[in-house]
């Protein structure tokens, strides 16, 4: 019997708390990305080395995407958007290491990422328009839309969570089933497909986060424009 995808395996217990496998993998990835970023940016120079060129290319691509999707200056958003993308990509692709299961295949990790996006939308919306201005955007286009707009705030975060969870978990699950039915080396094409799905889902999660944050920013600007004669 294949184990339930909704339960996580407990690796070790720290006091009364059982530390599960996704938590260990998440902390490993955080250490890897953080240390890697720190080591790679320790000696930046005006005449870039090979590594610095690659990193500048990655950051430049993320900035271009933010500029293209949100139509704003990318500087305040690069940190949160870029970290989200790199972490989800690393998390989805860490199934390449034998014995490691992607932490995004468990709904807790996705819920944490979704909460980050939820609060980032609130933070950037309030920062761009002030608390009253941001609350006013809920009454757009008319005040009848207030309940729908409030519900939408939660459902879009929920769909973000379930989308990432469903895609990554189904990939892991299908590989597990095929492995138990057919045996070694048969699920390799499926795993290659998983890599593609993982990259696309990381991109989509990030693009949707950008779209949501961008809409929280620009709804106020549309309101301002509408007031002008």
């Amino acid at each position: 019997m294949i184990s339930s995808p909704l339960n996580a395996k407990i690796v070790f217990t720290a006091g009364p708390i059982g530390v599960t496998e996704p938590v260990v993998v998440t902390w490993g990835l955080m250490a890897l990305l953080g240390l890697g970023g720190w080591l790679a940016t320790r000696s930046l120079s005006l005449r870039p080395s090979g590594l610095q060129t690659i990193i500048e290319m990655i950051v430049g691509t993320i900035e271009d995407q933010i500029r293209g999707t949100m139509r704003v200056t990318p500087a305040p958003y690069v940190a949160v958007i870029g970290t989200l993308f790199l972490f989800i990509l690393a998390a989805n692709w860490c199934s390449l290491v034998p014995g490691v299961e992607p932490p995004t295949a468990h709904i807790e990790t996705d819920a944490a990422l979704g909460l980050i996006v939820f609060f980032a939308i609130l933070y950037f919306g309030v920062r761009a328009q002030g608390l009253v201005g941001y609350l006013k955007t809920f009454a757009e286009p008319t005040f009848i839309m207030i309940p729908l707009n409030i519900v939408e705030t939660f459902t879009r975060t929920f769909s973000l969570i379930v989308r990432l969870f469903g895609n990554v978990m189904s990939g892991v699950f299908v590989v597990g089933i095929v492995l138990s039915l057919a045996g070694l080396l048969v699920p390799v094409p499926l795993m290659a497909l998983d890599l593609l799905t993982g990259a696309v889902q990381a991109y989509i999660f990030t693009v949707l986060a950008m779209v949501f944050i961008g809409s929280a920013l620009s709804e106020g600007r549309a309101l301002e424009k509408g007031k002008r004669p």
Binding site: P5, L6, G68, T69, R163, I204, V207
Partner: protein
């Protein structure tokens, strides 16, 4: 194997099979429209494919919801203890 388990397995299969039909048709239409747009206006391919990916993810979410419901019915069924 009691009746609830049999019905659960059947319900999971039904959820995935019928839940996949609609998104499959929708994704087909979306990709066809995007191909048409790119063929007419190749210079806008970047914007079109970015929007296409986001739209496909939105459509695909419906199928993923069905899958999640099926897995809940199979593994976290509140009526089976």
């Amino acid at each position: 194997m009691n009746w609830i388990e049999i019905v659960s397995i059947f319900a999971a299969a039904m959820a995935v099979s019928f839940g996949a039909v609609g998104p499959a048709l929708g994704e087909g239409r979306a990709v066809a429209a995007a191909m048409d747009a790119i063929a007419r206006q190749p210079e806008a391919a970047g914007t079109i494919s970015r929007t296409l990916f986001v739209g496909l993810a939105m459509i695909e979410t419906m199928a993923i919801y069905c899958l999640v419901v099926a897995l809940l019915v199979l593994f976290a069924n509140p009526f089976i203890h």
